[in-house]
Symmetry: C2
Subunit: 276 residues, 2 copies
């Protein structure tokens, strides 16, 4: 197993694969010496390298865990060095841009299938990696009509061995879904936190903190994600602004019954998530 | 001590006062027999009653913990039965409406001071009450120019004995602040949860769940709160929509640097809250 990018997700993939006996040898790639040193010192990796090609040349599975705007180029570098039969995947939050950038550009015998584990943390870096990060979580894989079935099966087995459930979706369908379930919440959390003046910090309680938790994410990573999926995010934002308009109307026109029914539809949806 | 309304907050006030030896006798009022039975059976209350007047006639401090649209009328009923020297307060999320409704209407010798503990839970009911709910939390008190200083001091001492920090603010200043720090986050959480179609439930992860957690609150309670503070909430919603417009512009015009700086201002504010 080769993991390119040893941060929270890459570190967790490496750790989970090692603890669960999924890979006999785990090699990591990171340009940041700190991340590699940490992962080597804590036994997460067998070996580390700042370069992709030497690390991925002997791998059966390569998982690219770098920011969404550089995934495609890292996959191409890894694929050029890989042996035939190697399966490459990624963990990026957007899939359409990656799948499109790689279409028809991989050496024959090497497969790429886009992936996105719906797991994460507002913490960053390999020190927060966890062998159980994927336990019970959903991993979306986005095969195309050209995807090799055997490669897809190997990747499904890999993620299931790490404790995850696998769901297959088209890349565009995935991007539309996560625009609403992940990217819009991030944008909202950042917008709400961004209008809090410091003199009101003391007047925030757990509600504000929960609602804005995502705003602590790394701005560089999220700039790339929001840009890569901007069409779907703008559509999700339209939907949200329509719903905010409905709330606004119930407040300006003082229609208590309509306000209550808007709050009830939110509660019904939120309560559904806790019974899953 | 008399507690009117034995739900999450009322139950926690009673429990904290008993555990910390703040009151020698704790009497509860609730029209729901279940809530009273539960609180009596678990030793939270010494006595319970469905009626306000008999329960508050012998109290030194009366804490009204009912929904914001009925607080003022419950305070008036309690005040009419109270002995001179009794201090009445409440725990409602809005203060302007309560303070205005009570101005000049209390019997002489009886003091009312508005209160709002910035503590809560997305759980409801006395079964979730906790003796530590107020530990380290802020309680806002909203005295007016007419407030008796000795009564204010007694109420400060009371909340501090329950583990809280006390901050004095004008009722309008309080309402403007919590419109942004509490009511707007609630509205946003409900709006976001409300646009989630069930087929995307499976594609939500901790980020969506954190951001929408407040939407699980009781719609009836929150309808009353949002209506009572609608002017300030509409102003806070304007501010948020301005910030969402800024995000929208960075996405439509693809200005990565501006998008990143919006995300950074959100992160700076959110990180501030964790170091408090």
């Amino acid at each position: 197993l080769a993991v390119v990018g040893v941060g929270l997700l890459g570190g967790s993939v490496a750790l989970a694969a090692r603890r669960r006996g999924v890979a006999s040898r785990v090699v990591g790639v990171d340009r940041a010496p700190n991340a590699l040193d940490y992962a080597l010192a804590t036994g997460v990796l067998d070996d580390g390298s700042p370069e992709i090609a030497p690390a991925t040349a002997a791998a059966d599975i390569v998982v690219v865990c770098t920011p969404v705007d550089v995934i495609a180029s890292h996959v191409l570098t890894a694929a050029a060095a890989a042996r035939p039969g190697t399966v490459l995947t990624d963990v990026g939050s957007t899939k359409g841009n990656v799948v499109a950038a790689l279409r028809g550009r991989l050496p024959s015998g090497v497969a790429f299938i886009g992936g996105h584990p719906l797991a994460g943390s507002h913490h960053n870096g390999p020190a927060h990696a966890s062998a159980d990060l994927f336990e019970g979580r959903l991993v979306v894989l986005t095969p195309t009509p050209e995807t090799d079935t055997a490669a897809l099966q190997r990747l499904c087995d890999f993620w299931q061995a790490l404790g995850a459930r696998v769901r297959l979706m088209g890349a565009e369908e995935h991007d539309r879904a996560v625009a609403l379930t992940s990217h819009l919440p991030h944008l909202l959390a950042a917008a709400l936190a961004g209008i809090l003046p410091p003199e009101l910090d003391d007047l925030t309680a757990t509600g504000f903190r929960d609602t804005t938790r995502l705003a602590a994410g790394l701005p560089g990573l999220w700039t790339a994600i929001l840009q890569a999926n901007r069409g779907a995010i703008l559509a999700a934002l339209d939907q949200l602004e329509g719903q905010l308009q409905r709330f606004r109307r119930t407040l300006t026109e003082e229609v208590a019954r309509d306000l209550r029914s808007l709050l009830e539809s939110g509660k019904i949806a939120r309560d559904r998530l806790d019974t899953d």
